[in-house]
């Protein structure tokens, strides 16, 4: 049966690839909406890794962490999109590079 199962390393490989792509999007996009999307992708890829690890051991803990990640993502998106509205209102643009007034 082992040979027919999905190898854990392959799932982790997919997860890492998604993480890398999400991080790439995070670094290269200037639009704040895309930045939020990239964050979602990265969170999702870690969730995938947790669930896969949980499945590897046949335990429910992985899915519980997934649920926690889900709530974090939900809260983050809620606040993040509120900030998007504010930024759009203040700078009339979604360009993150404009939001550099604090120099910090």
């Amino acid at each position: 049966m082992d040979g027919l199962n999905i190898p854990l390393s392959h799932i982790l490989l997919v997860s890492s690839l998604l993480f890398a792509v999400g991080m790439l999007g995070l670094m290269m996009r200037r639009n704040i909406i895309f930045i939020l999307m990239s964050l979602e992708v990265m969170l999702n890829s870690t969730a995938l890794a947790f669930v896969a690890a949980g499945a590897h051991w046949g335990q429910p803990d992985g899915q519980i962490v997934f649920m926690l990640i889900l709530s974090v993502a939900a809260a983050e998106v809620a606040v993040g999109l509120g900030l998007v509205l504010q930024i759009q209102r203040r700078f009339k643009s979604l360009d993150m590079d404009n939001a550099n007034r604090m120099q910090g």
Binding site: P7, L8, S16, V21, I33, M37, A47, H56, L70
Partner: protein, 192 residues
């Protein structure tokens, strides 16, 4: 065999959809690709014996969170020129460096993963098990998550209310510095 081939298909779809989502100029297009990617990940969850997680992924991620994105994007009413600007921002000079870093990071992760052995059991971890564990040993985490969600609720309400209130909007615009206030007032008229 079917499961394995389904996994590779779903993984490929997830990757391709994510890459496309990251490189789109139009936010709505990107969002659609992102939803596809999330659905593909949900398929993977299902395949590795986590149907509850798969359901949550579809309902909350692809459903609720992405719809939130769609609402906000529609509210911002980004036009065609926004797309053109996005294309301009995606020049090779911009993405070459980050891509190099991302590749290096991936290589490091790959090195770590390479030592991982063993398959994923196809035995399902049911919703009941998850629920028992969640409200058993992890009950504190549930409390923390609920507080986090409350904070997110209050924060987004506060930010969103101020954003939609016109009077406060103009008062704030006046408080901004000279260079910004010029463009602000012009754009305000356009919005009205």
């Amino acid at each position: 065999m079917l499961e394995i081939s389904l996994f590779y298909i779903a993984a490929t779809v997830a990757l391709v959809a994510t890459i496309l989502a990251m490189t789109r100029a139009n936010a709505i297009h990107a969002l659609i690709y992102l939803i596809i990617s999330l659905l593909a990940v949900a398929v993977i969850f299902f395949l590795i014996g986590a149907p509850f997680a798969a359901a949550l992924e579809i309902v909350i991620y692809a459903g609720a969170i992405m719809v939130l994105f769609v609402f906000v994007i529609m509210m911002l009413n980004l036009g065609e020129e926004g797309d053109a600007r996005e294309k301009q921002w995606l020049s090779p000079a911009v993405w070459a460096g980050p891509t190099l870093l991302a590749v290096i990071l991936f290589a490091e992760l790959l090195y770590i993963i390479s030592s991982v052995e063993g398959p994923v059991s196809t035995a399902q971890v049911t919703a009941k098990q998850v629920g028992l564990t969640l409200f058993g040993p992890y009950v504190l985490a549930v409390e923390i998550a609920s507080m986090l969600l409350l904070a997110g609720l209050v924060g987004s309400y506060h930010l969103g209310r101020r954003a939609l209130d016109r009077n406060i909007d103009e008062a704030d615009a006046r408080a901004l510095s000279d260079s910004d206030s010029d463009s602000d007032s012009n754009a305000d008229k356009g919005e009205q």
